[in-house]
């Protein structure tokens, strides 16, 4: 079964167009970062003389590296903890289900349907009393809990796809539960675990609501960094774009490098 050439050509054009539309805002942001403030608000044009003016200004005002480090620590830290908690949970749900397992999974997911602002007050007060405001630990806790339902849910589906026989064969061979997980489950579902982890990193990296509300300076990640360039003194598009470009650059590079893992993980069940 071969698709006619003109059809393939049309499909390619369509795919590239959609990809371009999706990518366009990012491209425009990157371009705007190299314009002067005047050029940034002038009529949109692709022809301008690039300048590092905005980058220099942005750098002079805030310590990018400090924010970036916070983002890295918080995103990877929370992902690590989420995986540590989720792997045993997903294991027990996938391989030792009870009549309530399905319900538990749905309930976990339902917590994602509550607007976070609904629990802002109690969490803020709890964090204040516990001394967790504006700490990386605090953000790691919030992000871990925020991502946990999705991480458990994804791992659960990956684990469920693993033939039970393989784990049972391991048990017949004398594997303890821990050895079963370490030697069989983890290596066999690694693509799935990796893509789940990547998703959790990206979600944490992009999270703005909690980081803006729970941090001020010490633990502020890049989302707070960008926000600091928007409202207070009116909109400076060029500087905002420069800051945003720097904020997304690390995760963009990270995503680019791991895209194979991502795709492989998300299609894991289908190709096995």
């Amino acid at each position: 079964m071969t698709t006619p050439r003109y059809k393939r050509f049309l499909l390619a054009v369509l795919a590239w167009s959609i990809a371009f539309v999706i990518f366009f805002p990012i491209l425009w942001m990157a371009l705007t970062g190299f314009k002067t403030e005047a050029a940034a608000i002038a009529d949109p044009s692709l022809f301008f003389s690039p300048t590092f003016e905005s980058y220099v200004a942005v750098h002079a005002r805030a310590d990018y590296l400090k924010f970036a480090l916070n983002s890295v620590v918080v995103a990877f830290g929370s992902t690590l903890f989420a995986l540590l908690i989720a792997i045993p949970s997903a294991y027990s749900m996938a391989f030792l289900p009870t009549p309530r397992t399905k319900g538990t999974l749905l309930w976990m997911l339902s917590t994602k349907m509550l607007p976070p602002v609904g629990v802002l007050m109690p969490i803020y007060l709890l964090f204040r009393d516990a001394g967790l405001l504006d700490t990386r630990t605090g953000l790691v806790i919030v992000y871990t809990l925020m991502n946990l339902p999705i991480v458990v849910w994804m791992l659960y589906t990956f684990f469920k796809d693993l033939p039970r026989d393989i784990l049972e064969a391991g048990r017949m061979d004398g594997a303890s539960t821990f050895q079963e997980v370490r030697h069989l489950l983890l290596p066999l579902t690694l693509p799935g675990i990796a893509s789940t982890g990547l998703l959790a990193v990206i979600l944490s990296w992009n999270e703005a609501f909690w980081s803006l509300n729970l941090t001020s300076s010490d633990a502020a990640p890049l989302t707070a960094y960008i926000a600091s360039f928007s409202s207070p003194e009116g909109l400076f598009w060029a500087k905002l774009s420069a800051a945003s470009t720097m904020a997304i650059a690390p995760i963009l590079v990270f995503g680019w490098l791991t895209q194979k893992q991502m795709v492989r993980g998300l299609t894991f069940g289908a190709v096995k």
Partner: protein
């Protein structure tokens, strides 16, 4: 050395009883086959012996030791799964050596043991491959090799050949029989394929609905099925069943009248049978013979030529009958044929489906697989 005993073993999943109090003795070095239709509980029973399913009540004893609460690995068993269940991320060598690695056996010793098992199964050239790069038959052999490496006293097989094509299945069947002789281990084998059961077993356990219907050597099951279920299950094509009426019951057997009016005296225990009682007569397709003077008559509906043999599907009045006759018969569809059978080949079942005990034991009924072998050795 390993014997296995099941005592009133019960398995319940929620409210359903899938195994309803099974008693069974398996002797050392015996090759036992659990056979039955799907859902009869044969795999569940095997998994309970393996320790992969808990026992709801009753006891499992290995070498007279109660094993109910002993973990799968400590029972001294090895299991070969239907799906082979090889570890896809490990090479053949690592697959086979995994149990030794978990047990902390040093690498050199591990490798020696794996190679020893691999040589029994001619797997040496494949040791560095991953399961993905193996054919179905090779995977099967690796799965068996993985079991051999553990040097178990009992091997458990869960429908190990059902994923193989027909010719490979025959080959593996022979190989398994050879292994059984070579390894001197007790083997328990689950299948729904009665040819596997008949050819490999010392003892067949026929299960239905979580109950053992009969335990016996293949020839006992074939010649003296205890009830209608076993009679219909063992043998292919399936046994024919006819409603008959008792004409007379005596010391030499029970005379019954067939639907067409013919009378046969079947040599079975007839005490308690009275004239007019309705019974069911079972006769295997291969025991029906075309006979121009035969007392039964019917019209051929379908005719299947297998070369050496021909199956005739005949309609006798309202009753469908299957005959397995010589391959060279010249009959055609819609021909009318007459046929009959030797009375001692027939079985009679009462209304509960229980067989009336035969008065003459079939000369081969007590024969088992080992007797076949002993004869061959003498020659």
């Amino acid at each position: 050395m390993a014997t296995l005993q099941l005592k009133q073993v019960v398995k319940e999943f929620g409210d359903t009883r899938v195994i309803q109090g099974v008693d069974l003795d398996i002797e050392d070095r015996e090759f036992v086959v659990f056979v039955g239709p799907s859902g009869c509980g044969k795999s569940t029973l095997l998994r309970m012996i393996a320790g992969l399913e808990s026992v709801s009540s009753g006891d499992i004893l290995i070498n007279d030791q109660r094993m109910n609460d002993v973990g799968p690995a400590e029972r001294g068993l090895a299991m070969v799964f239907q799906s082979y269940a090889l570890y896809p991320h490990m090479t053949v060598e690592d697959n086979m050596g995994f149990s030794l690695r978990l047990a902390g056996v040093p690498k050199a010793e591990r490798s020696a043991k794996v190679r020893e098992a691999a040589s029994i199964l001619q797997l040496e050239p494949l040791l560095d491959r991953k399961p993905k790069a193996l054919s179905g038959g090779q995977r099967q052999r690796v799965a068996i090799g993985r079991a051999i490496v553990r040097n178990p006293s009992i091997f458990l097989f869960d429908e190990p050949l059902s994923n193989l094509d027909a010719s490979l299945r025959v080959q593996m069947r022979i190989e398994l029989a050879r292994l059984h002789d070579e390894l001197d281990a007790t083997m328990i084998y689950v299948t729904h394929d009665q040819i596997e059961a008949m050819t490999m077993a010392d003892k067949i356990v026929v299960l239905q609905g979580g109950v053992i219907e009969q335990v016996g050597s293949p020839m006992t099951l074939y010649h003296h099925p205890r009830n209608r279920f076993v009679a219909g299950f063992i043998g292919s094509p399936k046994m024919n069943f006819l409603d008959v009426e008792v004409a007379e019951a005596g010391a030499r057997g029970v005379s019954v009248t067939l639907p067409g009016g013919a009378t046969y005296e079947v040599p079975v225990e007839g005490s308690g049978q009275t004239r007019g009682t309705s019974l069911e007569l079972g006769i295997r397709p291969e025991h029906l013979e075309l006979d121009e003077q035969g007392p039964m008559e019917g019209e051929i509906q379908v005719l299947e030529r297998l070369g050496g043999q021909t199956s005739l599907y005949v309609r006798m009045g309202e009753v469908p009958m299957t005959l397995m006759v010589d391959g060279d018969v010249t009959h055609r569809v819609h021909d009318r044929v007459r046929f009959g059978f030797a009375p001692e080949r027939a079985h009679l079942f009462d209304r509960q489906g229980v067989a009336l005990a035969s008065l003459r034991e079939h000369p081969l009924a007590s024969l088992n697989r080992r007797d076949n072998k002993a004869r061959a050795d003498d020659e």
